[in-house]
């Protein structure tokens, strides 16, 4: 192959953009000429270039709409409102909505770490999660297991109350 001869861009994965760049008129004169030389004898590239050129023309139809004359005014109004916002709002925005997309990630990681520490601390504290007890007592299986114990305690309390009553009768000489 000649030194200046171009390998087919459709077959050479190292420079697939060459044909796109040619149609977009982004190739320098030397490379464009080399590509044209190659395309003259390559039906595959010719077809691609013709199809892409047609698409390029069609895409030109998509013109932008007219911009509102009040656009700049709206931007400056938002900047002024932003500067008037409280310091904590500005700090929050700096952390979570800075110019660089993804700038919130360190803040997000910090928040997640804090949440994990807080949750761990909460779990470790005794009596810090009363709902756990409620949940245990609320389950039917546990209630069934606990029921006989509760009944025995009720009987014991009733017996004690009767004993107390008898004691009172003794103390008051049988007059209640």
């Amino acid at each position: 192959m000649n030194k200046n001869e171009l390998s087919c861009p459709m077959k050479n994965s190292a420079q697939p953009e060459l044909l796109l760049d040619y149609v977009a008129r982004r190739l320098d004169a030397a490379r464009a000429a080399a590509l044209e030389d190659h395309a003259a004898s390559c039906e595959c590239c010719q077809q691609f270039m013709a199809d892409q050129a047609l698409l390029w023309q069609e895409l030109d139809l998509f013109e932008p709409a007219a911009i509102s004359p009040k656009f700049d005014q709206s931007v400056y109004a938002r900047l002024a409102a932003d500067d008037r916002s409280p310091w904590w709002v500005r700090t929050w925005r700096k952390l979570f909505a800075a110019g660089e997309p993804g700038a919130w990630r360190p803040a997000m990681a910090l928040s997640a770490a804090c949440a994990v520490v807080l949750t761990a601390g909460l779990i470790q504290l005794p009596g810090s999660m009363p709902w756990r007890h409620t949940a245990i007592h609320g389950s039917a299986a546990v209630e069934q297991a606990v029921a006989p114990v509760a009944d025995a305690r009720d009987v014991e309390l009733a017996e004690k109350a009767l004993e107390d009553l008898e004691m009172l009768q003794v103390v008051s000489g049988g007059k209640l």
């Binding site: 953009e17 199809d51 700049d72 900047l79 110019g99």
Partner: protein, 208 residues
Amino acid sequence: MPEPPKHFLTDGVQTDMAVAVALEPDAQLMFRVRAGDTACFAQLLERHRNPVIHFLYRMVQNQAVAEELAQEVFLRVYRSRESYEPTAKFTTWLYRIATHLALNYLRDHRRERADRSMDIETDDGPARQLTDRLPNIEQDLVRQARLNEVRLAIERLPDKQRAAVLMHKYQELEYSMIAQALKCSESAVKSLLFRAYETLRVRLAHMA
């Protein structure tokens, strides 16, 4: 325009300003904004307003939303003046913010878009005077139909492919800049573009 706080005028800024002299004009303007020169922000707005709005308009295909998002882009640029570092070209950074906002918008309004694309002719496009249309009303109708086909074909592209095509075709950004804006490699961008153009060629083949 709000007055910049005095604490912007620091020695650090002076040092950065010296660095910025060797940089592209936009980065120099950004450093002056950081130093409190609000007129420079107006210059940045003037230079980049139209391309950013046009890009966003083609992304979301709604002029009011595009302008709203563009306001947010410039607001973020202004808010970031203190932490701005010219690690990439200013334009790349700007399109990175714009793309991020547009992709978020598209993700959050996917359902509405599906409904809207059923009735794309009702959407706002470039305004045309009735008097302009009278002589060639048939041609204009054909043109409008073709435009709707193009808009629909672009709208149906996956969001990232759409962003890549718009930055390549209309904003004429280099592959490296598109790659930075989309946070992917240059080869990934080329692959995205190849697939996107192929899809568009197939979808619009009947118009040839």
